[in-house]
């Protein structure tokens, strides 16, 4: 699966965090699916993500760029200048520095994107080369995520879709485009008095902007370009979830994860699983009760027994907990010799010829631990801080292993195995309790080494299997 990130604000903390996570995931995937420590196919971390040399694309890459400098306003003919002045306001649009994004002004983004897409970059080259690789009769699927109320995303959503469709026609490739449009789902406090209000977007404007944008999309998809999107998913949250801080952009902007983003990811999975014959649709996420439990989360496979998303995500979360709290500390270089005589170690590690003390194994374990910590931090952050207005989000119950602070964020408490952590493992995926860490340990001790993995993959695969719901 090819992946690309579009952001005008290249220094943005959210973008940096995403790139770091992607790099961590890809490193782990390469080691656990291609190297000497193999996992079974279609299991833990099995999705392949590929990117161009640089995963991100910024439409205007010049330093201190403004719309005027990008379009070379001074060199324009008089008629062009007049048209330009009619379309864009001077102070907050034409002369505003765009290094930290389009600041919620979608019209600026659209102009910049069309112009920038004309000058080719690695981002587009990669996409078009992928189109060239599509066999006859096959189709390419592209899924776009964007907010409807922002700047880059709102402008890029239809613009990038149009560019891809046009390119696909030129390459004679059948392409299906799906997209998740994020309606307002969060809010943040107003900026301090020192920040000029006109140069930023206030969260109270989200609803008005969204309404305008939806009218635009209605017009676009009904009259102008009905076949542009094959599937559109509209996602939001009511009441708006509180972000708790204001940042104009840049490195310090690191928004906490929120539930609608998970729904967006599920929308993409749904799109990639659609039959070729499925008709275009616009789908809207909603819920039937105030609080959010697994019953409110869409399933991917309606024919599956039970809730498939809960089962898969639950197992991943439980694996992360079990690995961090019960195994990783004892697989470190100075700890593991004490446990070499235990059954699980002999069967799943020693018999698989894994040299636990070696640098590559220690590096792999440390990267996996980091990934697990990121995953658990994400799961903890999904639950809003208690508040009478905000609905309860009861997908993961990890309060016993994490401390949350509105300022410093999430701190995981997984250093030693206590009864609280054992309980948390059993009750991590509500409702009810699932197999405890003792059952997992017993399972590992009884497991056979032919789980389908190689090297350290034998142990990790077995642990992952044992963490089922």
């Amino acid at each position: 699966m090819g992946l690309a990130l579009v952001d005008q604000d290249l220094s943005n903390g959210n973008l940096t965090q995403t790139k770091q996570l992607l790099s961590l995931y890809r490193g782990l995937h390469a080691k656990l699916h291609n190297g000497s420590h193999g996992l079974r196919e279609r299991t833990l971390l099995h999705t392949v993500f590929t990117t161009a040399d640089t995963a991100e694309w910024s439409p205007l890459r010049e330093k201190r760029v403004t719309l005027d400098t990008h379009f070379n306003y001074k060199a324009m003919r008089d008629e062009a200048k007049m048209l330009f002045e009619c379309l864009f306001e001077r102070r907050y649009e034409r002369e505003q520095s765009l290094e930290e994004g389009f600041r919620g002004r979608a019209a600026l983004g659209a102009a910049a994107m069309f112009s920038a897409a004309a000058s080719r970059s690695h981002f587009w080259d990669r996409l078009f080369s992928d189109m060239g690789d599509i066999a006859e009769g096959e189709e390419m699927r592209v899924f776009l995520f964007a907010s409807i109320f922002g700047g880059t995303g709102a402008s890029g959503f239809p613009t990038i879709a149009k560019i891809i469709k046009e390119m696909a026609e030129q390459h004679a490739v059948k392409v299906r485009i799906g997209g998740a449009l994020m309606l307002p789902y969060f809010e943040y406090p107003d900026p301090p008095a020192s920040v000029e209000r006109q140069s930023v977007i206030l969260s109270r404007e989200f609803k008005r902007r969204s309404r305008q944008a939806l009218e635009y999309y209605h017009d676009l998809l009904t009259y102008q370009y009905p076949e542009l999107f094959d599937q559109i998913y509209l996602l939001g949250f009511d009441p708006l979830l509180e972000i708790g801080y204001f940042k104009e952009g840049g490195t310090l902007q690191r928004n906490k994860p929120l539930l609608p983003e998970l729904l967006g990811a599920l929308a993409a999975l749904n799109f990639f699983r659609l039959d070729r014959s499925s008709a275009p649709q616009v789908l809207r996420a909603g819920r039937s009760s105030r609080d959010v439990s697994w019953d409110e989360i869409p399933r991917l496979d309606p024919r599956a027994k039970g809730h498939d998303v809960k089962r898969h995500l639950g197992r991943l979360i439980r694996f992360a907990m079990a690995f961090l709290v019960a195994y990783y500390p004892y697989l470190q270089r100075n700890s593991y010799p004490k446990f070499r005589d235990q059954s699980w170690f002999r069967r799943l590690i020693a018999d698989a010829d894994v040299e636990v003390g070696s640098d590559d194994v220690q590096q792999l374990l440390s990267e996996l631990a980091k990934y697990c910590q990121e995953l658990l931090t994400w799961a903890v952050s999904l639950k809003p801080l208690p508040d009478s207005l905000t609905p309860e989000i009861c997908l993961f119950d990890l309060e016993r292993v994490a401390q949350r602070n509105p300022v410093s964020g999430v701190t995981l408490r997984l250093n030693e195995l206590t009864s609280r952590q054992k309980q948390s493992f059993q009750r991590a995926i509500p409702p009810g309790a699932h197999q405890g860490l003792d059952g997992v340990f017993e399972g590992l001790s009884r497991a056979r080494s032919d789980s389908g993995g190689r090297g350290l993959g034998v142990f990790l695969q077995t642990l992952f299997d044992e963490c089922h719901l």
Partner: protein, 189 residues
């Protein structure tokens, strides 16, 4: 080379489902805990009976034969006692292992240490039983008979150890016990 995961048989699936069924697990845990308390109470009664000279089942069983002071009945009695004690202790170990399940390698290590400690305590208890219950007021007992009983009880105290290893293997708690690696290998072969 990638190896396909073997598909579990229906019997294996049923066994796994049953083993993880909450009510089954609760029942087994309750049984295990009850066994521990019963065994501890029985041992306490045995020791207290010896100290306070109360009648105990073991006394009634053993003494008439001991008084006969003949070699063969003593040997038989010793063997029967050894098997009985080994069986009771193995069951007790099984119950402990069911009631206290290690949840991590570190807990398993702790469990193994407690395992060794309890083994020593149990051996001491068995020797106390031997001394107070069997030999006290036993009348004239030859050195050979006394030696046979002593060896028999000592063997039985370690016999339960091996029996419990066989019963629990390949559980983690058994993995560090001498002989369990051999048992695992035999099972796998």
């Amino acid at each position: 080379m990638k190896v396909a995961r073997p598909v579990p048989s229906t019997a294996e699936m049923t066994k796994a489902r049953l083993a993880y069924h909450p009510s089954f697990r609760t029942a087994v845990d309750l049984l295990a805990k009850a066994t521990i308390w019963l065994a501890v109470a029985a041992l306490a009664y045995l020791v207290a009976g010896a100290l306070l000279d109360l009648p105990t089942p073991l006394q009634g069983l053993v003494r008439p034969k001991l008084r006969a002071a003949s070699f063969l009945p003593a040997l038989y009695q010793s063997a029967i006692d050894a098997i009985l004690i080994a069986g009771v202790c193995a069951f007790l170990w099984w119950a402990i292992a069911k009631a206290w399940k290690p949840a991590s390698p570190r807990e398993a290590l702790r469990f193994q240490r407690v395992w060794w400690l309890l083994s020593v305590v149990f051996t001491g208890l068995i020797l106390a039983v031997f001394h107070y219950v069997v030999l006290k007021d036993a009348g004239p007992v030859t050195r050979a008979t006394r030696a046979i009983f002593l060896v028999g009880y000592l063997l039985s105290s370690w016999g339960f150890f091996l029996v419990s290893v066989l019963a629990l293997s390949p559980l983690t708690v058994a993995s560090a016990v001498p002989g369990s690696a051999l048992v695992s290998r035999l099972k796998r072969s």
